[in-house]
Symmetry: C2
């Protein structure tokens, strides 16, 4: 098994990955809060850690990948009273909270499928683990690091910080936290501002509520991940991933909770992807630039010039190292779309070269002998480097750069114009194997099915204009024919109030 | 809202459906035990109650459809020691039980999508509702109808039967039950053989375990449905559905538990679909005729002569009333496949007839005036009967029989050979609307290959026929527009020598 080096956010250095149980790897990633539709900001962590999961599998690990669903307990932002995000949104949509949870969980799964993210092995829900959370809270209380006030239970951060390195992961010091913690609810109940809720007493009108030793209430946000990760991966596990915005307070709180409950750090390697910006600005409601994934895929947000295929988005994310910030703009996504098509076309061309292929059962990339020509050596080098790049903290962008060097080589081989000498059959096979391994297996890319969807869109626009024309001429036979025929094909036309025509495809 | 009559298994008669809250309908259906892959026997209840859900929506109800996932608590069959099906299977597959649960839940969702079953509004899991189950057990104990032995809790069926009509739903009498109950585990603990487990003490090696007032253990199978249905639909709700095999002991136990906990019957209308057989035999491991859905869709079971499309299976199920037994055989499925194609082709032909369509917003099927001709009257009658049939305990087979009478009529209208007189435009529209309403909206059928390439093909055929028509009318502007616009989209039309038009897609 090749050595994998990853950047550990906790120690702030690249470390060789050594799993707790040889051959097995435990991976926990903070999943979505299903109180609403996922947006562009959610795409990055799930794609980043999908690549990590795929890489670990490629390297031969048996991976237990756990990604939770936060369907309770995630409080609203700073400055408001404690409110469960799911319960609050359910009121707005006039749904039972669990109807809302089902709706958005289902939608999230569809997006993950569109991004070609492999499913986690376990997808535990917060509401499904209230008993485990209560047990852990009782444990923390018994150890003297949590206290109850009016049916709510708070973690005593000040006491913890006096004995343990609180803030080491996020780099925050306690004095800062006193002012900036997100949960300011029930402040009078807390001993210190930095303390956070493990359990909240539910007011009578609160729908989501469970019995507990402190009366009916609901769990805090942070405790769910500690309870679920330890249940399914153990009290110490290999890798915990998430977006950098979760370092504080969420992951910092997870460390504190688990350290008290279990007597030691829960996680061996913390990994965080960096944030995204949109046209250079932080994403946020105040900028009106929160782009939902359905808007991104359909091009229906005012900031978008066109629809972007999930594979374009995935490819774009791979073009930047996961620990760098990443700016989304129409220009950048359009360039990524072109680049992706270019590389995929070359890949398809490459696969058509008829040579003895390397046995698929052998996962290792064979190191063919150098046959001497300059071109042959260059191809071999560019291919062999990929294994080093991916194991150097997932340097996906460097691999793509190598592939872009290989694209003109592939095209020149096809046209018989290769410069720099002959290329061995083994080298072609190496290149085929390398492209397949990285593009498909590890990067999780696949052909844009949109190939034909785009064509379908184009043809539909044409039909819609013919229909409009027919209606103008009062040729209703034709306009009805078009509508009915499309309906029979599973495509519904809808005449909008503004005179335009939209359509939905079943 | 039209009157709907359904057969209530509890009262053993057809009753007019009156929902508890006007305009709203609550529907609970027992979902799958996700310890393995769904088989043919599972197809029938989920398709049957999907039709009910679609029918209620069609009639104008706002439906809250709850279908659970049994991911714990379902004991193995008679004669073995109490073992949780999920935990047991996990050992065999060497997976953490929740990995197994995720795997098979995900697969179940894919099958439901392939069957075109609408998603339920809420899909609660047994493991996600342990607290609710414990509360309900405590309640039943407090009322004196359950007792604890060695950390397990049993429902006192004998005591219940002395005061309430136990066995009324399933038609069993208590003496029978004493001999035939499925759970014979820990018999020495039970006061009577007919008693069933509400909570089981977990032996040390049992992985799936939760804290409870009776020590660590896991819930019984029956209690989950009572706890979850009352949580999401209320202590009394409209319809409870499931396969007839669930009447005893599962639904009988649900009635008993809820009657004690809440003081009254939980369900207003019980509905059960009848069983299936395979080549005339009961499905079972001993007959080696348990056909998994993946085997059915791929044709990979020794008993299958070919693969069967999910729509063929759905259609076949609709051809028999849900309360009759249904035998699966290659002959029957092949006949259903042909019949389905025949009806769908006629439907597509029908949709091409160009007439004023009926406003889609009006769900009611318009009762056009009788125009006098024999054929016209017959068509109207066959269409109007559908509303009566569907509201008469979902007589889907009768509707299909009417449609099969209409298929030759549609084909004769197309060829201009209609016998029996003229057909009004309104009657054509009525027929179009009726086919659409039943085949698509209520029966949930869709074209067999619903993927977008087929859509593109369908749309292109339409454009080619519009172009041919334009050329005939010497409207070269339109015919050229179509050719050029398609070429710009990467689709080349080619006029063949025989007058037909083919196309190539780049």
């Amino acid at each position: 098994m090749a050595d994998l080096f990853i950047y550990n956010s906790y120690t702030r250095q690249k470390e060789k990955f050594e799993s707790l149980v040889p051959g097995h790897a435990g991976l926990y990633v903070c999943g979505p809060t299903v109180s609403g539709e996922s947006h562009l900001g959610h795409a990055r962590p799930y794609i980043t850690f999908d690549i990590l999961n795929r890489l670990l599998i490629h390297l031969g690990y048996k991976v237990r990948y756990v990604r939770n669903i936060t369907d309770a307990g995630h409080f609203e932002e700073e400055g408001r009273a404690a409110q469960d995000k799911v319960a609050e949104k359910a009121k707005l949509e006039k749904l039972e909270p669990m109807e809302l949870v089902h709706k958005y969980t289902s939608l999230f799964h569809k997006f993950m499928e569109q991004f070609n993210c492999l499913e986690p092995a376990i997808e535990p829900t917060a509401t499904g683990h209230v008993i485990e959370q209560i047990s852990m809270i009782e444990d923390i209380m018994a150890k003297g690091y949590a206290y109850e006030v009016n049916g709510s239970v708070y973690f005593d951060v000040k006491k913890y910080a006096a004995h343990y390195p609180y803030g080491k992961l996020s780099g925050r010091v306690l004095d800062d936290n006193l002012e900036t913690t997100r949960e300011l609810d029930g402040q009078d109940e807390k001993r210190n501002k930095a303390d956070f809720a493990l359990w909240k007493n539910a007011p009578p009108e609160h729908i989501m509520r469970w019995k507990s030793p402190w009366g009916e209430g609901f769990p805090g946000w942070h405790i769910e991940c500690s309870a679920m990760s330890s249940k399914y991966l153990g009290e110490t596990f290999d890798i915990h991933g998430g977006g950098m915005d979760l370092q504080f307070p969420h992951h910092e709180s997870e460390i504190a909770q688990s350290t008290i409950a279990h007597g030691h750090q829960p996680v061996r390697y913390w990994m965080h992807n960096n944030m995204i910006t949109i046209n250079g600005k932080k994403m946020g409601k105040s900028y009106n630039n929160v782009i939902k994934l359905s808007e991104l895929f359909s091009g229906s947000h005012p900031l978008l010039e066109q629809a972007y295929h999930p594979m374009t988005v995935r490819f774009y994310i791979l073009q930047t190292h996961y620990r760098s910030t990443l700016d989304f703009s129409n220009e950048a996504l359009q360039a990524a779309e072109k680049a992706y098509k270019r590389i995929w076309e070359a890949y398809e061309t490459l696969q058509q070269f008829s040579v003895k292929t390397i046995p698929a059962a052998n996962n290792a990339i064979p190191r063919a002998e150098n046959c001497g020509t300059e071109l042959d050596s260059k191809i071999q080098q560019l291919c062999h480097e990929c294994a080093d790049f991916i194991c150097d903290d997932m340097a996906t962008a460097k691999i793509l750069a190598n592939f872009f060097e290989l694209v003109p080589v592939i095209n020149s081989i096809r046209s018989g114009q290769a410069q720099g000498g002959a290329v061995q059959a083994e080298t072609i096979a190496l290149m085929q194997h390398t492209f397949k391994t990285y593009l498909e297996d590890i990067f999780g890319l696949r052909p844009m099915a949109a190939h034909n969807n785009n064509k379908l869109d184009g043809v539909l626009e044409l039909l819609i204009s013919i229909r409009a024309d027919a209606k103008k001429k009062k040729d209703f036979a034709t306009s009805d024919l078009i509508r009915n025929q499309l309906a029979a094909t599973g495509i519904q036309l809808k005449d909008e109030k503004d005179g335009s025509v939209s359509y939905t495809i079943d």
